[in-house]
């Protein structure tokens, strides 16, 4: 690992001021991804600004209940604290579950809410410095296309990049229509979750719409009554501690046999957490039946494309959607 200058920020303003003055600087959260990438020399910052000591607030532990029933989660709150928060568990169980299905107990204790959004892909070719990778070295090519691409994207990929976003937590945040609060040298702004991460296009090295001087300060969860009836399902190669082949986050509301509310997002299938709008539009106001769920899954995957080893993901994604939505409809989707 290349050496660097370290600084510990005590305020958001201080952190933003430092990054604005240092062109090749990185914010450091729990370190569970950045330290690993630095050790592999994929990330080589000259300066590291530790933002884990920014105050998470008082007795609320950094998770604030808003008057409308929504929640504001400060960016430095650890993943395990979010997963175990009573209000998250009761009102947004899909978020608690998604976090618990990711990584390990140790990593969840370290990883921060903001850092989770900034994770980079676990594509093996991205990690392998001898392979071609447009994300690591722009315009160098992509060895995943035509290579071993079992873990790779089936939706929204490009001729430049077929990597996937690795987060589980972000799949739930996409389904819940979260908002990302950020602060930069030019002030504060909010970014809708669906607009935070980018599809690869010709610039797969640009992974988010966060500007270089901006720090994530909080995640806002808007109120969503039927998120009480929500669930996360993750399909992976082993029972625990593995990245998703396909994952599904869903919240469902059924009234008198008709779907009156639905949120659906997929993980492990694209360069960003994939909000399944086509499936949602198919389901909304339709009869809550297996036939509807199958039609919705088919619609969502209609544009899917396999790259050889990952062709199985298209059928797997459809079956997983149908399975988990059916299960949720039977278990708790009825209002």
């Amino acid at each position: 690992m290349k050496n660097f200058a370290y600084s510990r920020a005590e305020t958001v303003e201080g952190a933003v001021g430092l990054i604005a003055r240092n062109a090749n600087a990185k914010f450091l959260g729990g370190g569970t991804n950045l330290v690993d990438l630095m050790r592999e020399n994929i990330e080589q910052p000259d300066a590291v600004i530790d933002v884990t000591h920014l105050s998470v607030g008082g007795i609320d532990g950094g998770i604030i209940e808003l008057p409308d029933g929504g929640l504001l989660i400060r960016a430095s709150v650890r993943n395990s604290a979010v997963a175990n928060n009573p209000l998250v568990r009761e009102r947004y169980p899909v978020l608690s579950q998604a976090i618990l299905f990711g990584a390990s107990g140790q990593i969840r204790n370290m990883a921060t809410t903001g850092g989770n959004l900034m994770q980079r892909t676990r594509c093996h070719y991205f990690y392998d410095g001898t392979a071609r990778c447009n994300k690591r070295t722009p315009d160098s090519g992509c060895d995943a296309i035509g290579g071993f691409n079992r873990m790779h994207a089936i939706l929204g990929a490009s001729d430049s990049c077929i990597a996937t976003h690795p987060s589980d937590m972000c799949v739930a945040l996409a389904a819940l229509d979260a908002t990302v609060h950020v602060q930069g040298a030019r002030g504060e702004r909010t970014i809708p979750f669906a607009a935070f991460h980018r599809l690869p296009g010709n610039t797969p090295h640009e992974e988010t719409n966060l500007r270089s001087d901006e720090l994530i300060t909080a995640i806002h969860l808007p109120p969503l009554a039927f998120a009480k009836n929500s669930r996360y399902r993750k399909i992976r190669d082993r029972a625990s501690y593995a990245f998703a082949l396909v994952s599904v986050a869903v919240a469902l509301e059924i009234f008198a046999g008709t779907i009156t509310g639905v949120r659906l997002a997929l993980g492990g299938v694209a360069h960003k957490p994939w909000r399944a709008y086509k499936a949602e539009n198919t389901m909304l106001r339709a009869k809550a039946s297996r036939e509807t769920f199958e039609r919705a899954a088919k619609a969502e995957l209609s544009d899917a494309r396999g790259y050889g080893h990952n062709n199985f993901k298209i059928e797997l994604a459809k079956r997983t959607i149908v399975s988990v939505v059916t299960e949720l409809a039977e278990a708790g989707g009825v209002r």
Partner: protein, 190 residues
């Protein structure tokens, strides 16, 4: 820049001081260190302080051998920079026992044959101590059927899921689970 505990002034990156002076609280003692910012907590423990109980396995957050407790929470010391942990209370396997008496989880690992070669054992034990505290704090897991209700039983399924961040190449998992079960059921940690 009064708001910063700046150990290196970032404006002088062209000629950075290669080392920083920090103090770490480890097993109740304060250790002064002069290290480069890139030194991991794991390497600080093993290479600078001679605390070799904590083991380096994969050095990339996949195996759990380097698990220590930071403010009581299990943490991978290979993925943390030592400078980040100034001001934190770090406990390694060397600090679990008191006055020459083994921690109940350590004793249970011996009693239940929770190891073969022993390389993963310090990480398994620190992880188990942290995991039991998490369970006692009501933390759900991926196998918890309904996260909106509190969990009452630390079932074998729950133990396996919660310990999935610690690998054992010898495959001593049966003994490891039995040891954790024994330590938990004994009530010593309650």
């Amino acid at each position: 820049m009064a708001e910063l505990n700046s150990v290196i002034d970032l404006r002088e990156i062209g000629s950075p001081s290669p080392t920083v002076d920090i103090a770490l609280q480890i097993n109740g003692a304060t250790h002064a260190l002069r290290i480069e910012p890139r030194v991991s907590l794991l390497d600080a423990l093993r290479e600078y302080l001679g605390l070799t109980g904590t083991k380096k396995g994969c050095n990339q957050g996949a195996c759990g051998a380097c698990t220590v407790l930071v403010n009581g929470e299990r943490t991978l010391s290979c993925l943390g920079l030592a400078v980040q942990y100034e001001g934190a209370d770090v406990t390694t396997v060397e600090g679990l026992g008191v006055d020459g008496t083994l921690h109940p989880v350590q004793a249970a690992f011996i009693e239940q044959d929770g190891f073969q070669c022993g390389y993963c054992t310090p990480g398994q034990i620190c992880s188990a101590v942290g995991m039991i505290r998490e369970f006692q704090n009501g933390m759900p897991s991926a196998v918890t059927k309904d996260v909106s209700v509190s969990i009452v039983e630390l079932s074998e399924e729950e133990i396996k899921e919660r310990m999935s961040g610690n690998l054992c190449r010898c495959g001593a998992y049966v003994g490891i689970c039995d040891a954790i079960r024994e330590a938990f059921d004994s009530g010593v940690m309650k």
